[in-house]
């Protein structure tokens, strides 16, 4: 069957941007499609321009990932756009000595929304890596398309904020990423790398327990998991209790212990954990 962009999980977004493939772009997109079918995927919501996951979200640095070694890195960020200088991000990649082997860049007319697809060679590996950026998009928009396309995302890499409707980043309080385990069934999540460890969750419970229902509603914007919906039928107290039980029973391990660096984020290195989702 001949490849068309309709086969990509973000085809509706491409259509919205009135994208028509040029020159060799179709073959690059087909390569991405094939790679997504065969290789492990990692998703970084609210990524900004951060690319630490390209260096650290792998089983050589984080041995606890076992055989999981992502080749496709999907990023999204509502606030981050490349409005004035579309090559800035290319420079960022090159600054980190990442070779860009191919790219497709799609914008809307205002450049408030953009999709970048990169085929990369990073300095840490001989294998190709793929980076797909959705800038100007809510994380939910990407999550919905991934879930609807039944694409497995075994690794979520998420720091600072990253779930669902809300901005964070100083505009509003950060939306915590602690609810991602509730998307495990929809996305086939096996691991989450985050700074929001169980201590974080405990402090959220103490300070922001009244927002759990809102966050769960946000999960329901994208999830097809019926058990999530049933949680919302619980009273506030019952819901709080149930969420705490579910979130705190997830096994986690601190990544940067005994002075050894396994995963870096200049803001949160000391707090980074890997959560093992069953």
């Amino acid at each position: 069957m001949e490849f068309s962009t309709d086969q990509l999980f973000f085809s509706s977004m491409l259509k919205e941007l009135e994208y028509k493939p040029k020159n060799n772009e179709l073959s690059l997109l087909k390569e991405l499609y094939d790679e997504m079918a065969n290789m492990a995927i990692s998703y970084y919501p609210s990524s900004g321009a951060d690319i630490n996951d390209l260096f650290y979200a792998n089983n050589k640095k984080v041995e606890l990932l076992g055989e999981l070694n992502p080749s496709v890195f999907i990023h999204s960020d509502y606030l981050h756009t490349d409005l004035n200088s579309p090559d800035n991000f290319d420079k960022d990649l090159r600054l980190h000595r990442i070779n860009i082997l191919g790219s497709v860049k799609v914008f809307d007319k205002s450049k408030l929304k953009s999709i970048y697809i990169y085929k990369l060679k990073t300095p840490i590996s001989d294998e190709f890596k793929w980076l797909v950026l959705f800038w100007g998009y809510y994380n939910e928009e990407v999550l919905i398309d991934l879930i609807n396309s039944k694409i497995n995302v075994p690794l979520i890499y998420t720091v600072c904020d990253g779930i669902t409707s809300g901005w964070g980043a100083g505009y509003t309080p950060s939306i915590p990423t602690i609810m991602y385990p509730f998307l495990a069934v929809d996305l086939g999540i096996k691991y989450i790398i985050t700074e929001q460890n169980s201590e974080h969750i405990k402090s959220f419970i103490e300070q922001k327990y009244d927002q759990f229902r809102t966050w769960l509603n946000n999960v329901l914007l994208v999830s097809k998991n019926p058990s999530i919906k049933s949680l919302l039928e619980l009273s506030n107290k019952e819901l709080e209790k149930e969420l705490i039980i579910r979130l705190l029973k997830i096994e986690e391990e601190f990544l940067n212990t005994n002075g050894r660096l396994r995963c870096f984020d200049y803001r949160f290195t000391d707090h980074m954990v890997i959560k093992n989702i069953y």
């Binding site: 260096f55 600054l95 000595r97 300095p123 002075g259 660096l261 870096f264 200049y266």
Partner: protein
């Protein structure tokens, strides 16, 4: 406090760090080195009333006795007066290692940022440090700690270059790790010295040295500590191996020995400091 008393205090506190371990020295040799290192504290006109011996020589011997009691030095033949002294093993090397204070001082060296092009025509960001002759002189005036810092700085620069050019897969890991463990701010790249190792050590530093009355002390201090300086470079790689990312030390030695870029880092003149450093490095065990 009299000058010879200060001398004793200095000798005991420094544990005579210039003295290589397991090296035997005659008392006269020790006194000769001490007088070169501390010329202002070795006034031979101040003599003892009982035997006419210079007080600084007497206090040097007293310092040796104290260090002997502390297990730092010992007499080769305890029954003999005078004679040979030896520095005990594992005590003499002035161990230099990466510390937060070193890294903070290194990253705060006067520097400027610039964009440049590498051979792949990729634009990338570089931060280069420099030290004026006045800056170097002010480090030298601090004494051994200042000289050690200058050596550490140029060696850390060498480490950064080795990783940047020949272990690029580890470059981000190393700079992230150093930033995390030792520096309080976010850093994207390790600042490097603009010129070659030999430019800094043989030309830049030497120009200042030649104008400095402490020239001999500085040269001797550098030569005596050459092993420590080499050990410092290896200690950085060992730390990376332990806590950050893998390096093969033998491979690094071979890179320094064989790669054209590094051949040019060091002088071919056997009398130059950069040559001596390279030679010590290649033979370091």
């Amino acid at each position: 406090m009299e000058s010879y008393q200060i001398l004793k205090k200095n000798l005991i506190e420094s544990k005579m760090s210039w003295w290589l371990e397991e090296t035997e020295l005659e008392l006269k040799q020790i006194q000769s080195i001490v007088s070169e290192i501390y010329p202002n504290l070795c006034d031979s006109d101040i003599v003892r009333t009982d035997n006419g011996e210079a007080e600084w020589k007497h206090y040097t011997r007293l310092s040796l006795e104290t260090l002997n009691k502390k297990g730092i030095v010992k007499k080769v033949n305890p029954t003999k007066r005078g004679g040979l002294w030896v520095k005990n093993k594992n005590i003499s090397i002035n161990y230099l290692k990466i510390t937060s204070s070193f890294i903070n001082e290194y990253y705060d060296l006067p520097s400027y940022e610039r964009n440049t092009f590498n051979s792949m025509q990729y634009n990338f960001f570089k931060k280069e440090w420099y030290l004026s002759k006045n800056d170097i002189a002010s480090y030298i005036n601090k004494g051994s700690s200042g000289i050690d810092f200058l050596w550490q700085a140029i060696i850390f620069n060498l480490f950064s270059k080795i990783v940047y050019y020949y272990h690029k897969k580890n470059y981000k890991y190393c700079s992230d790790f150093i930033g995390w463990r030792f520096y309080e701010f976010n850093i994207q790249c390790i600042p490097i010295f603009k010129g070659k190792f030999k430019n800094f050590v043989d030309e830049y530093l030497l120009t200042v040295l030649n104008k400095n009355k402490k020239n001999k002390y500085i040269t001797d201090h550098s030569l005596i500590n050459m092993n420590s300086y080499c050990a410092f470079l290896f200690s950085i790689f060992e730390l990376m191996n332990k806590d950050c990312c893998e390096f093969n030390i033998e491979e690094i030695i071979s890179e320094i020995k064989n790669y054209d870029e590094f051949k040019d880092e060091f002088s071919d003149n056997p009398k130059s400091m950069s040559y001596i450093f390279k030679n010590t490095l290649l033979n370091y065990k």
